[in-house]
């Protein structure tokens, strides 16, 4: 422990010395680490950041549900369900293939431009739709891995008791599958938290967009630092929580304790 702390300290001192002795450092410090600017921009950026949190929360709930539907569709057996399975596969391939920022740009600028009166014009709405579409493709794969990891004997046991396919899925397969994939799920959500900043490219005033406005006004980039601090402040706890869950899971399995 002492060695770990010591080597970490030495490492950071070396890096800090290297950076602060770089020829451009005084300029960079003025541009990016201006305390006065930070104090001035932080409240504004923090207020805008609430939009990121809102986007994240709404998208997360929708993704959890939609991705589960996709995963279940893909796990349906037999030739009857082939079209549904194929559709789910094409969907996952497509939305994991297209860069997030492209989907956001296409939907965010394209959908409102259709001029249809019955669809929302809000870029935030379309930003959320884009994030849901993309992340559901990833999360459905995570769910599917979980479903596949449940041994077929569990299904046999449930079906042999007279439970229907749906009851078996709901009562026996999914509860076990979801429990197993909570850590990778949270991992995807760390990515989602960061990607809410991409909705700013549509013009929604979220943390990144707000800091951009501030930098444009003052020609000082410290506002970006404010946004970075805010993102880190929520992603780090989630990352540690995920690590803790993984560790707890591993300990339990080793100890053969309760599920």
């Amino acid at each position: 422990m002492a060695i770990a702390l010591g080597s970490t300290a030495v490492f950071f001192v070396v890096v800090a010395v290297a950076i602060t002795h770089a020829p451009g450092w005084p300029e960079v410090r003025r541009q990016f680490f201006d305390w006065g600017e930070f104090k001035a921009t932080f409240p504004e950026v923090a207020r805008a950041f609430l939009l990121n949190v809102k986007i994240f929360c709404i998208a997360e709930v929708l993704i959890l549900v939609f991705a589960l539907v996709l995963a279940v569709l893909r796990s349906l057996p037999g030739p009857v369900f082939f079209p549904l399975r194929a559709l789910a596969i094409v969907y996952a391939d497509l939305f994991r293939g297209i860069p997030t920022i492209l989907v956001i740009a296409m939907l965010g600028f394209g959908a409102p431009a259709l001029g249809l009166s019955y669809i929302p014009k809000s870029v935030i709405f379309w930003g959320i739709v884009s994030l849901v579409l993309i992340y559901s493709a990833y999360v459905s794969e995570v769910y599917r891995a979980g479903i596949d990891s449940i041994h077929p004997s569990q299904e046999a046991a449930a079906r042999s008791l007279g439970l229907s396919r749906g009851q078996t899925l709901r009562r026996v397969i999914l509860p076990q599958a979801v429990r197993r994939v909570i850590p990778p799920l949270l991992n995807d959500f760390i990515g989602l938290q960061k990607d809410t900043a991409l909705v700013g490219t549509l013009g929604a005033i979220e943390a990144f967009q707000q800091s951009q406005i501030d930098t444009n006004a003052t020609f000082n980039f410290t506002a970006y630092l404010s946004a970075a601090v805010l993102f880190v402040a929520i992603t780090i706890p989630l990352a540690r929580f995920t690590d803790w869950l993984v560790l707890r899971d591993r300990r339990r399995r080793v100890a053969g304790g309760t599920t």
Partner: protein
């Protein structure tokens, strides 16, 4: 009336033929033991009877009514209990939930009714103090007894036991066999695949010797174990005796 009748049952997995025309009739309250080498088709036969495997040819009757091609397989399965070699308890549910799940979700019993039924069975098989335990806290023998209780909670008219002691440590086999013995005495109709020859001899009314997907010889335990007619049955039993399993 026969509890179960199987007629000319064939089943193959791809090119591998597992059952080649099996005929079997089981009377009410009868206990039939299926013996034979691994891969002779015992487990597959049980899984076909419970409609867990689709059959290729033949017919299966439960209480004189045909169940092959049944429109509602769930309705058939709830009348047949099956216990597997590997217990297959639901690891995310405690013992009580394992036992009450199907009575509540399939039979539509209330929580209280299902729990009364479960408690009664758990008490009867010495599991009263394990109600709230999760499966991974139980010994293999206890898990298998819970699996038997889980099947019994549906009040099945027929029980299928698929090598239920094969995955157990030797010292845990007796407690599970005792439970099955009690069931037999209670008049439960049972078909059991087993490697426990002395147990089959004690408990079964009839013994069927399966060889390469066919029932080669059927008889009372005495006929099969003391006077086997077929050379293949004799060979099989000799091997068992050499391995000191009889």
């Amino acid at each position: 009336m026969s509890a179960l009748a199987v007629e000319r049952l064939t089943k193959s997995f791809g090119k591998h033929v597992v059952l080649r025309g099996v005929d079997l009739e089981v009377a009410e309250h009868e206990v039939v033991a299926l013996i034979g080498a691994s891969g002779s088709g015992k487990s597959t036969l049980l899984r076909c009877i419970n409609l867990l495997e689709a059959i290729d040819e033949g017919r299966i009757f439960l209480a004189d009514r045909e169940i092959t091609g049944a429109r509602d397989v769930n309705a058939v399965r709830r009348r047949i209990g099956i216990v597997f070699q590997s217990f297959n308890l639901f690891p995310h549910m405690n013992v009580m939930r394992n036992v009450t799940l199907a009575p509540r979700d399939v039979l539509g019993l209330s929580k209280a009714e299902a729990e009364t039924r479960a408690v009664e069975l758990l008490d009867r098989f010495g599991l009263a103090d394990k109600r709230l335990e999760y499966p991974d806290r139980l010994s293999g023998g206890q898990q298998q007894r819970v699996a038997i209780v889980r099947a019994l909670a549906m009040r099945p008219e027929l029980m299928l036991l698929d090598e239920v002691t094969s995955a157990l440590d030797p010292e845990l086999v007796a407690e599970v066999l005792q439970v099955i013995g009690e069931l037999a005495q209670g008049g439960m109709t049972m078909v059991l695949a087993t490697h426990e020859m002395s147990f089959a001899r004690d408990i079964a009314n009839r013994v069927c010797f399966l060889d390469e997907g066919r029932i080669l010889e059927v008889g009372t335990p005495d006929e099969i174990f003391t006077n086997p007619k077929e050379p293949r049955t004799q060979q099989f039993l000799e091997r068992i005796i050499k391995a000191r399993r009889l």
